[in-house]
């Protein structure tokens, strides 16, 4: 990989960002570090069995492959394809609604011959792409009505996904789109208006929620009220993390996880295993690597050569932050139990591939920045 030297031609950006110029390699290294750390924790969470670790390694390898491929696609092509991707994504979502496979009581999967996949997962990338595409063609900051149009672009797929019902993904997709709007420079007044609107929508959302989703929110407010159901998860994972202490109990030595008190310990609650075995220092290390990835993403965004790349890269980086923040917040009892995996560490899921696809796009924008710099 080639290393960027510097570019005085660049328009001024905050000095701190400039100092992190060489971070293309750093991004890759950080991702690989998290993935490796994830496999180590997974080995422990799986009860020292290699089988899950091997399968996860294959998934990660696929993800890195997808990233490499996407890194070769210039952002101008991505931009040209954006509206079509968005349209096909919407069609697929409608397809899921009409002909989807009911799995675990929710219609999320679309079966097209050989592959079964979740269109909602793809929308995590396509929605911010579409909002960026829409706003990019206009003068920024966008006018009022343009913001409302952009909100519709976000809301349409979000409503379809929420109907599936998959509220967690719907919120993640919306937040990715909203980040673009925020980064495009919408006035603070309009932002607070949107925030107020969202606040007013909350009771409506509550109506739309399924019983089990409402229960999760209620459990968060008072976990002791449901010690057998969702509360059990939170109580056990708090015990796991808290008993880890400063240095942790050591790899493969977490009693909470090894003695099976911790549910979902290889998937959504894997962070509790990590916290128990590697302690506060380990947690700080992981948070630091995650923060580094977000930081690097924002740097690439700030230096990108056009508004589309800038908005998209910024939104993808902030979305990545949201993923791990929501997961860790949930496992440590700050947020309700929503099914969001810990990025690159939780076992399974199509989420690894989408995530790595996003990083592929970031890499591509980074190389664009370089070519422009010459």
């Amino acid at each position: 990989m080639r290393i960027i030297l510097d570019s005085k031609q660049h328009p001024p950006t905050p000095g701190a960002l400039i100092r992190l110029l060489r971070l293309d390699v750093t991004l890759l290294m950080a991702l690989a570090l998290v993935a490796a750390l994830g496999l180590v924790v997974l080995y422990s969470a799986a009860g020292a069995e290699l089988e899950m670790v091997e399968r996860q390694a294959i998934r990660l390898a696929t993800g890195f492959g997808v990233m490499l491929v996407l890194a070769q696609v210039p952002s101008t092509s991505l931009k040209a394809w954006t509206p079509w991707l968005y349209l096909s994504g919407m069609m697929l979502l409608l397809g899921v609604m009409l002909a989807g496979d009911v799995s675990k009581g929710a219609q999320r999967w679309l079966d097209i011959g050989l592959v079964r996949f979740q269109p909602a997962e793809v929308m995590k990338l396509v929605v911010p792409m579409m909002v960026a595409w829409y706003l990019e063609g206009r003068q920024l900051p966008p006018r009022h009505w343009q913001v409302w149009m952009a909100l519709i672009v976000v809301a349409a797929p979000a409503v379809l996904i929420a109907q599936q019902p998959d509220l967690g993904t719907a919120l993640l997709v919306s937040s990715a789109g909203l980040f673009v709007i925020f980064l495009a420079g919408v006035s603070w007044r309009l932002l607070s208006a949107i925030g107020l609107l969202g606040f007013l929508c909350a009771p409506v959302l509550w109506q739309f929620m399924h019983e089990y989703q409402r229960q999760r929110v209620m459990t968060l407010l008072n976990p002791e009220s449901d010690p057998l159901g969702a509360g059990y998860h939170i109580i056990q994972s708090k015990i796991a993390i808290g008993s880890g202490g400063l240095y942790g109990k050591g790899w493969l030595n977490g009693t909470q996880s090894q003695l099976d008190f911790l549910p979902e310990r290889s998937t959504d609650f894997i962070f509790a295993v990590y916290g128990e075995e590697f302690g506060f220092l380990g947690v700080i290390l992981l948070l630091a690597i995650y923060a580094l990835i977000v930081w690097r993403g924002l740097t690439i965004a700030a230096r990108a050569r056009d508004a589309y790349s800038r908005l998209l890269a910024g939104s993808l980086s902030l979305s990545f932050f949201i993923y791990f923040f929501v997961n860790i917040g949930m496992v440590s009892g700050l947020l309700p139990v929503v099914g969001v995996p810990l990025p690159l560490i939780s076992y399974g899921g199509t989420s690894i591939v989408t995530l790595m696809a996003a990083f592929g796009m970031l890499m591509s924008m980074h190389s664009q920045e370089r070519s422009q710099a010459r």
Binding site: A184, G185, L228, L246
Partner: protein, 645 residues
């Protein structure tokens, strides 16, 4: 997801960019973005600090508390499977119930040597290869502290034998549980279906939360269709365990929500009468209440004992059922496709009236055969000498083929198709059960698409008497005759009558689904066809005269005889049975009372011969039981004298 081709690198955006950049202010935009990015970075930093603070709170400030908690953690969550809902017939007779049974379970984490334990267990109880295989496949999926069933339905002796030796088997236990039982055995097997152990594929589709602790799932029929209602929701127990992981006491629990009981519209007595009336013959009987679509009887003969399937059918039992030439596993009522034969004639007559190609008072000479103009091929009547001059009423009553050949010729295949599909033929009825066959109402369009051939005029003629390509299931025929009985009002056939409400304990009826009405130009047409159908069973010259002879209510019916070309189903060619299997299928459709219908019936007796002689008496016994509450008498004398068809 698709990725854009590399080619577009040089495409449109490049020529657009500079233009836009002159309008936009890239410098301004970049600055704006930078401000926003800094704000976002600051916000993420704050949130990260929040996370780190939370971790410090848990891992440093409260470390001692959580450390103690983790050392004293002796509480586990155990799933409690819900009892499955029962299934009743419309009078409260139990069709599916839960009986206590014993099974042998192993908790792998408590077993020091699994292989050795299994080997020693095999000396006490029978463990065959399939049990072993299932156990190991489940072992891979479950957590080691969860118990896994090894054997089901232990006998009392086996339970006693194990209890004596129990001390030598840590981690092995006898568990009492409820197991599904079908007291009426084969009687309603094709309706109720059965449950069986959850297989690999089903497991991947299920919500592991609700099915935690559940080992069985509906596989067929009502048990499958209403699985979500019958199953209920798993409960949990907070159990204190000792150092070996054995439960000491229940601290707290959330009771499971039992599955809801179902009441079917089926009448167990009626079902029994229909089975008896069919006797040794293979065939099907479907009875429907025309006004609301409730299925009163749905018989497919022969049947099988669903109890065999509950805990895994043995290979010998299964191959016996599978290889039986009479195919007991085949649901004839729902999936058996038969040519409707002459039972299509009342609908043909309605089509003729509706399109104005015939009138009630139009007469024609019905000789021994019909010929298309300019074609030498003769389409013969079932009666070698023909019926002489007939009008519509006589043609229905005597089942005069030539009249309907001529009618089909006048209508043409497209209009026949369009009219018959309005009665639901050629489409699934939407019964609440799985695997229903569609049947077929042929059209030139269908033949082009399915066979790549053009429609021949001669095929229209044979379709006029329900032969040729036309195929229907007994259920479709019953639904169509119910529509006829209601003078066009269509209801979706339904097996579920009511669901027990978990709060009040009362059965709450489910809504009927009305499908609209078959509108005719003149409602008098209905009576012009139904009148002659009553004559079929009442007039001495009717083709089913014997069944209406002493009936205290009026029956509107139509006989049918379907020729067996090759075989309707893909059965194996069986040398010994060839004579019987080439015999015609006997059909009969009817409803009663004719002016205020309460029951509509379709009967098919495979290889039975003429419909009037064989199938009509079955329908009469079913109607007698339902309308007069009368057990069937001996086979009626008159049946012997009846002629075709």
């Amino acid at each position: 997801m698709q990725y854009p081709p590399l080619r577009s690198r040089n495409a449109a955006p490049r020529d657009r960019m500079p233009v836009q950049d002159t309008i936009k202010n890239p410098y301004q935009e970049r600055k704006l973005f930078a401000v926003r990015a800094v704000v976002a970075a600051f916000a993420t930093f704050l949130l990260l600090a929040l996370l780190a603070g939370r971790m410090a709170f848990l891992q440093i400030v409260n470390h001692d508390l959580f450390k103690t908690l983790s050392q004293e953690n002796r509480v586990k969550l155990v799933a409690v499977p819900p009892p499955r809902g029962l299934i009743y017939d419309r009078n409260g007779t139990v069709l599916a119930e839960n009986q206590p049974s014993y099974r042998l379970e192993i908790t792998p984490s408590q077993v020091p040597d699994l292989e050795g334990t299994l080997a020693r267990l095999a000396r006490i109880v029978d463990i065959d290869e399939s049990d072993r295989r299932r156990f190991y496949s489940e072992l891979q999926r479950k957590e080691p502290f969860q118990s896994i069933p090894l054997l089901f339905n232990l006998s009392e002796d086996e339970v006693a034998d194990f209890a004596v030796n129990r001390h030598g088997f840590p981690g092995v236990d006898i568990a009492a549980q409820l197991s599904r039982h079908y007291p009426t055995r084969g009687l309603a097997a094709h309706v109720v279906g059965y449950i069986g152990r959850i297989n690999e594929h089903e497991l991947s589709e299920l919500d592991s939360k609700d099915y935690n602790g559940t080992s069985h799932i509906g596989k067929l029929g009502i048990e499958k269709y209403y699985e979500s209602i019958l199953h209920g929701k798993a409960g949990f127990q907070h159990v204190e365990i000792n150092a070996q992981g054995r439960p000491l006491r229940i601290l707290d629990q959330q009771l499971p929500v039992p599955g809801a009981d179902l009441m079917l519209s089926l009448d167990e007595g009626l079902q029994r009468v229909a089975v008896q009336a069919l006797g040794e013959s293979n065939g099907a009987v479907v009875a429907i209440e025309p006004a609301n679509g409730e299925v009163l009887a749905l018989v497919s003969q022969p049947a099988y004992d669903p109890n065999l399937f509950v805990d895994g059918i043995s290979y010998t039992d299964y191959s016996a059922l599978r290889d039986d030439a009479d195919r007991p596993l085949f649901n004839r009522a729902l999936t058996g496709l038969y040519p409707p034969g002459s039972t299509i004639k009342p609908f043909m007559a309605l089509a003729g009236l509706e399109y104005g190609v015939t009138q009630a008072n139009r007469t024609m000479w019905a000789g021994p055969y019909f010929q298309l103009p300019g074609d030498s091929r003769r389409y013969r009547d079932w009666k070698p000498e023909g019926h002489g001059t007939v009008n519509l009423a006589l043609a229905i009553m005597r089942s005069a083929d030539v009249y309907f050949y001529d009618l089909a010729y006048r209508l043409g295949i497209q209009r026949m198709h369009d009219f018959l599909v309005r009665f639901g033929l050629g489409a699934v009825t939407g019964l609440d059960s799985s695997g229903e066959a569609r049947g077929l109402v042929p059209s030139p369009e269908w033949k082009r698409a399915a066979r790549g051939q053009v429609w021949f005029p001669g095929e229209t003629i044979s379709a006029g008497i329900g032969q040729g390509y036309m195929l229907a299931t007994p259920l479709q025929l019953a639904a169509a005759v119910a529509t006829l009985a209601m003078r066009g009002q269509r209801v979706q056939p339904r097996l579920l009558k009511a669901v027990r409400d978990s709060h009040s304990g009362e059965f709450k009826p489910v809504d009927h689904k009305f499908l609209g009405t078959v509108q005719l130009r003149d409602p008098i047409f209905w009576e012009q066809v139904i009148g002659p159908m009553v004559e079929v069973t009442r007039n001495p010259r009717g083709t089913a005269y014997h069944i209406g002879i002493d009936a205290p209510y009026s029956i509107a019916g139509k006989t049918g005889t379907a020729q067996v070309f090759g075989l309707a189903q893909d059965e194996k060619y069986d040398e010994e049975k060839i004579v019987k299997e080439l015999r015609d299928h006997a059909l009969f459709i009817a409803f009663a009372p004719a002016d205020a219908p309460r029951i509509a019936v379709a009967v098919i007796v495979e290889n039975g011969g003429g419909g009037g002689r064989v199938a009509a008496p079955v329908a009469r016994q079913v109607m007698d039981y339902y309308l007069l509450n009368r057990e069937p008498t001996l086979v009626m004398e008159a049946a012997k004298h009846a002629d075709h068809p």
